[in-house]
């Protein structure tokens, strides 16, 4: 049973790990912290996986656990990260089919989001990921109306940072 659960978890998580990477990139500013947060998210996902009943998509469930970890649980630690040593290619986003303008825009976007507070970060992230207001308000625990107001304010803040 445990073995099955492990295998299922690894399959689910491996396929969706990009969500966690994006969150790590939003909430941290260097590779080391990125890996540290990623590790904490992995631990929390695995710890809570037995409670994942599959009545929602794994990715939906993962958004909540990963964001909650970044916002409420994570604190910088000095532990050793359990990954192989990777050279510090940090945040160099490289891809052939990605044009320069978009690459610059993306970099500017990440830089701007880094200046927002934790909650605004979550709001903007969920907006960028096209999540409906219902899901946003349920994830953060605020009413839909509040989510809308807060979202508009967060977007304004972001615009001001991007185009001062």
């Amino acid at each position: 049973m445990q073995k099955n659960l492990e295998e299922k978890f690894l399959l689910d998580f491996e396929a969706n790990q990009n969500i966690a990477h994006k969150i790590c990139r939003l909430y941290t500013t260097n590779r080391e912290a990125h890996n540290d947060l990623f590790q904490e998210i992995t631990i929390q996902l695995w710890k809570n996986y037995p409670k994942f009943r599959g009545d929602s998509k794994f990715s939906t469930w993962m958004y909540r656990v990963a964001l909650n970890t970044a916002i409420s649980l994570y604190r910088k630690s000095t532990r050793k990260i359990k990954t192989q040593d990777i050279s510090d290619f940090a945040y160099k986003i490289k891809s052939q089919d990605y044009d320069d303008t978009e690459e610059l825009q993306l970099k500017a976007l990440y830089k701007a989001i880094h200046q927002l507070n934790d909650i605004d970060k979550a709001l903007i992230f969920l907006y960028l990921e096209d999540k409906p207001y219902k899901e946003i308000s349920e994830t953060l625990g605020i009413t839909s109306v509040n989510a809308r107001v807060k979202m508009n304010r967060a977007k304004e803040k972001l615009k001001n940072i991007l185009n001062p």
């Binding site: 690894l10 710890k47 970890t69 994570y74 500017a108 909650i119």
Partner: protein, 213 residues
Amino acid sequence: MDVLDNYKKAWKNQPEESNKLSSVEIYKMAQSRSSSIVKWIFIVGVLEFILWTVVNITIPDRFYKIYEDLNLMEYLNIFMGLHYVIILVFLFLFYRNYKRVSLLENTKKLIQKILKIRKTVKYYVFYNLATVSLGCIILNMFMFSDNNKLMKVMNPDNLALDIQQVITITIISQIIGLLIILVLLWLFYKLVYGILLRKLNKNYKELVKLTYN
């Protein structure tokens, strides 16, 4: 078209993380130990329970002599029994609140529940401070109600001392002792919980702010 729409397009087209982990690496990571804020609050909480229990246990017998002299031992024993029952209740509440923290909640509820663990510990410390203070007051009331007893307790060797002087010294030394303890505790709380809870308090305020705007 909104300015952000362009950026959103760039976001959507962003390449996948190039540093993807294999399932072996994920497996290794999942087995490692968490270093979350909740865990630290739990550890600090347990340490506080241990600290106060140790303080309770290691009080030297000499300290109780004053109760014997004042014929208060019986009350003290009843009180200590009650005291340990209350500590157990606190421990139970502390553990229950810790267990209730679930990442599957929404963010606001989650932060509320984490702050609740900390609150249990806070009340436990308040309780301890209150019992110490109350104990002091009761003891003082007994002592000062009878000058002969006071002299016997404070001056067992029958040195030639002025009763007024004894009273002043007793009160001043108690106040100084209490102040030192309070300042140390305050520093400890500012430091430890300040570091641990700063982020949570900030995010929680951010979440509730709108409700009252």
